[in-house]
């Protein structure tokens, strides 16, 4: 259900040499942005996939050091199908987390 976005809207907000990075993975591709929005200010459109194991450990340590955690809503395992429907409506602030103790 994840949908393509109009990348031109955002590309136009980048200054010279700015980079726009795609990290979401929609089921359908984004339409290609206008070439002029790239060449006129040497803007870059890039993608990035998760991170390596070493970097993931570095991120976890960084977050532990600076007390960064996610804002979550805890759910029991048998709520998962309802949680998916709510996710599709962006009805979660900001992540569901399953309590596996509920899986009996």
């Amino acid at each position: 259900m994840a949908a393509p976005h109009n990348l031109d809207v955002y590309l136009q907000l980048l200054k010279r040499d700015g980079t726009m990075i795609l990290v979401g993975a929609p089921a359908e591709p984004h339409p290609s942005p206008g070439v002029f929005n790239l060449i006129f200010k040497r803007r870059q459109l890039a993608g990035s996939l998760i991170g390596g194991i070493r970097e993931t450990q570095e991120m976890l340590d960084f977050c532990a050091q600076h007390d960064i955690v996610s804002d979550v809503e805890m759910i029991p395992m048998d709520y998962i199908n309802t949680a998916y429907e709510r996710m599709l409506r962006s009805d979660v602030k900001y992540r569901f987390v399953i309590d596996l103790a509920s899986l009996k």
Binding site: G18, G24, I53
Partner: protein, 266 residues
């Protein structure tokens, strides 16, 4: 073999339901983890519903796993029973290509092994964190140093956290840069927290995007947004992360990172 309760989808159109699976007994380099919490990522939903057209069924998703080590193999040096541990999106890679050598296993030339839905280039299925136990090679297990009471809120760092941390680091988000986050969901809210720390937030701007009246024929694809005029100061955006995977990325934030003494760049 270790019998484990889980939740699985049997097809693209069936709901997730109770399922029983078997984990391998821990080998010399393996860590066995009792899963305590697992975050719910949009990729889980794409996968169980077959939306990327590559799903192996039954499908047990979940790649934001945190838990406690219950057993380790003979050659495991960095984990012991009782430790808090995490598992993210990968449980294996070839270990000898250029990317693996540089610690970028996610770009492994031979395809990393996803925590669920198997090796990306085919092969046997793997089962993720919607389950009670997982056995993972030590080199793909992470240490959790947060307080134990925060453990549930740490789980989403394993995907949403690293997915935003890595590009922010790679493209040098830090002092003097302005970062825009499009889509404030699971990924986006982590990007905000990570981009702003440890630097003081000096200013931010929240444009209110409005859905344009015209839609495409399907009514599903938003091709036009009514973007409000952005103050010129905020047109200096250096980096934008498009993290939204839901239909309307109406929540966005532009942040100016400054007022700091240390740099994020390595």
């Amino acid at each position: 073999m270790i019998k484990t309760k889980a939740y699985a989808a049997q097809s693209a159109t069936s709901e997730l339901a109770p399922f029983e699976l078997h984990r391998r007994s821990p080998g010399a380099e393996d860590v066995q983890i009792e899963i305590l919490y697992c975050g719910v990522c949009h990729s889980d939903l794409h996968t169980v519903r077959g939306e990327w057209h590559n799903t192996l069924y039954p499908s047990v998703p979940g790649h934001e796993i945190v838990g406690r080590v219950v057993a380790v193999g003979d050659k495991v040096r960095n984990f012991k029973p009782g430790d808090l541990a995490g598992v993210g999106c990968m449980v294996g890679s070839c270990g000898h290509c250029h990317s693996c050598d540089e610690g970028e296993e996610q770009y492994c030339d031979n395809g990393f092994t996803g925590t669920y839905n198997g090796p990306v280039f085919g092969g046997e299925n793997t089962y993720g964190g919607y389950s009670q136990t997982i056995v993972v090679k030590e080199s793909f297990v992470l240490h959790i140093k947060h307080a134990e009471k925060d453990l549930a809120s740490v789980a989403p760092l394993l995907c949403a956290g690293i997915t935003t941390y890595s590009p922010l680091r790679h493209w040098g988000a830090g002092p003097g840069k302005t970062v825009g986050i499009v889509g404030l969901g699971g990924l986006g809210h982590m990007a905000v927290k990570i981009a702003l720390t440890p630097w003081a937030l000096t200013s931010f701007y929240l444009p209110r995007l409005r859905r344009a009246r015209s839609k495409t024929a399907s009514g599903l694809v938003p091709m036009k947004f009514a973007f409000p005029p952005i103050p010129s100061k905020w047109r200096l955006m250096q980096t934008a992360l498009i993290s939204s995977s839901t239909r309307w990325p109406l929540r966005t934030i532009w942040m100016s990172i400054s007022n700091c003494s240390s740099a994020m760049a390595r």
